[in-house]
Subunit: 328 residues, 2 copies
Amino acid sequence: MKRIGIKDLARLLSLNVSTISRALSGHPDVSPETRERVLDAAREFNYHPNLHARFFRKKNSGLIALVLPELNSFFIPELIQGVHDAVEKKGYNVIMFISGDSPEKEAEIMDHCLSWVAEGVLVSVSNRTVETGHFRAIQSAGIPLVMLDKVIHTADFSTVTINDHSAAWSATEHLIRSGCRKLLGVLGNPGLEITRERAKGFADCLEARGFLPEMSRIITIENIASGEEVLMEEVIRGGYDGIFVMSDELLLFVYPALAAAGLYPLKIRLAAISDGKLPHAIFPQVPYVQHSGYQTGRTAAEKLLDEISGKDPAIRHFTSGINLVYPR
Amino acid sequence: MKRIGIKDLARLLSLNVSTISRALSGHPDVSPETRERVLDAAREFNYHPNLHARFFRKKNSGLIALVLPELNSFFIPELIQGVHDAVEKKGYNVIMFISGDSPEKEAEIMDHCLSWVAEGVLVSVSNRTVETGHFRAIQSAGIPLVMLDKVIHTADFSTVTINDHSAAWSATEHLIRSGCRKLLGVLGNPGLEITRERAKGFADCLEARGFLPEMSRIITIENIASGEEVLMEEVIRGGYDGIFVMSDELLLFVYPALAAAGLYPLKIRLAAISDGKLPHAIFPQVPYVQHSGYQTGRTAAEKLLDEISGKDPAIRHFTSGINLVYPR
DNA sequence: TTGAAAGCGCTAACAG
DNA sequence: CTGTTAGCGCTTTCAA
């Protein structure tokens, strides 16, 4: 069935296309009766504006690009929802890209954003990205870009993250306060800013509390499959009484491994940084510092929209507050 | 900085726009030297085609719409990834919508799809949707539509789901085989096809295995917040030795509630339908029938792409195989 | 092998 | 209040 256009309506109603256009977009210069007739006809013939044509003409696309390195189970879905809620309120739509954690792919995606004339770009940076040329290209095309969650800290881009250092510190301190004397930190990809900051928060807190170097250790789990072995070997050898887990993804396998070995909850305490769902699904509940995906996504999207509308063009770095959640 | 277009390149190289267009799109009728010059200039001046203009002209948008009622923790992220992988291979991009589980919103979104001239629509139907007029509107505009996961079974739309009935049956049978004699089924939204089918699979299996009506019961958890109370009251009263849990979302709270009460793993066995991550994160691991989000997304997207390219215009209902995963 | 020109659907001057 | 018209960036006939 042929798609009906503004021209068809014009012919049908023996009016001019511009009158139709005006009636449809609520322009004041059009008589109420005419407007009604047009609106009725539009409904009747199932008219839908062609946004490509409209935006093509008006030089803006109504699209916000959301670029993610990969999807995970807790944080990212919430983040997407946050972005979505913020963006939708202003009538924008989301076009989503997944870089698969590849900087090359990421660069291609930036080209796509340019080609789609996205009005703004939200990007959670790939773990292996070091070069930022492709991001600057977006900016120099006049398109606002905000980094969220996984970011590169320079003076050039606005960012939205949590304060990873203090989140890790806070979780670590909770373990110490609970009486732990020998601590293990379980961390993810070491190339990431987010990992380095959390590792540092963990280490700094220990130092500040007078822990000697031999009273703590950090292990890195890059691959969940082999992770359990690495973890259990260290745990058994080390005699730990507390473990700091850096993320939900890690907690998802640290918990059953310890439980199966009979170590949690009897011999070892846990504390995590989490979006907040998983710790409640574990028994006994794990204390955690909340890292809200929804807030991150929403804040970043709102900042981006402000930049788009010229309201807050300054580069800013938002770090959301930390709050520790104890089991009830 | 002004965006550079095909016209600017033409002026720069003293060529005609059509030559540029041809060179850029790899048309054979253009001399190798000219092509080189054009490609070089495009790179140098950072040319990016305007897809709105291109697709506007060519009558197709390169967009696949993905419409979801809401995001969850395990299944949906995998589904998105599956859709993404399939679609990207063919050069399409994904424009994402969230209906918030509202039929009205869903109808609006269908209008957006029309307005964006999406070339295909993938939709996981809102729980409360009964009227399908807005979906037919898409089809009668000549746009293929495939439903996935949450679907409405009619002769009009292709669908991709798992065989919910046999998944539930299989999980239930596993409990019976393990020796359970009194079973509880924990189900979600009762308005959903998916829920009805799983409830039926549970009940049918029990009947086939000779369970008397008083040896089983079904409870419905619509709201996670109040769910724990409902669950525990029933569990304590009923004296169950096995519980069938219909989804990851439900398992996420059923497990800690039972564990906290000291019932799991000692007195009660569990079996679930799950994407496959969460059961491994629980101790002891929960047997489950796998419901793969990735496969669902991927299969649906591939079917959609086939329909778009005219390869498989028939309406089909795919139900993926079931396999039961035991704890190792 | 290249150029000229029309037209995709819509908006926005400008004119009446 | 309504009509006329040009043009957004690109592809695609048709001509040269």
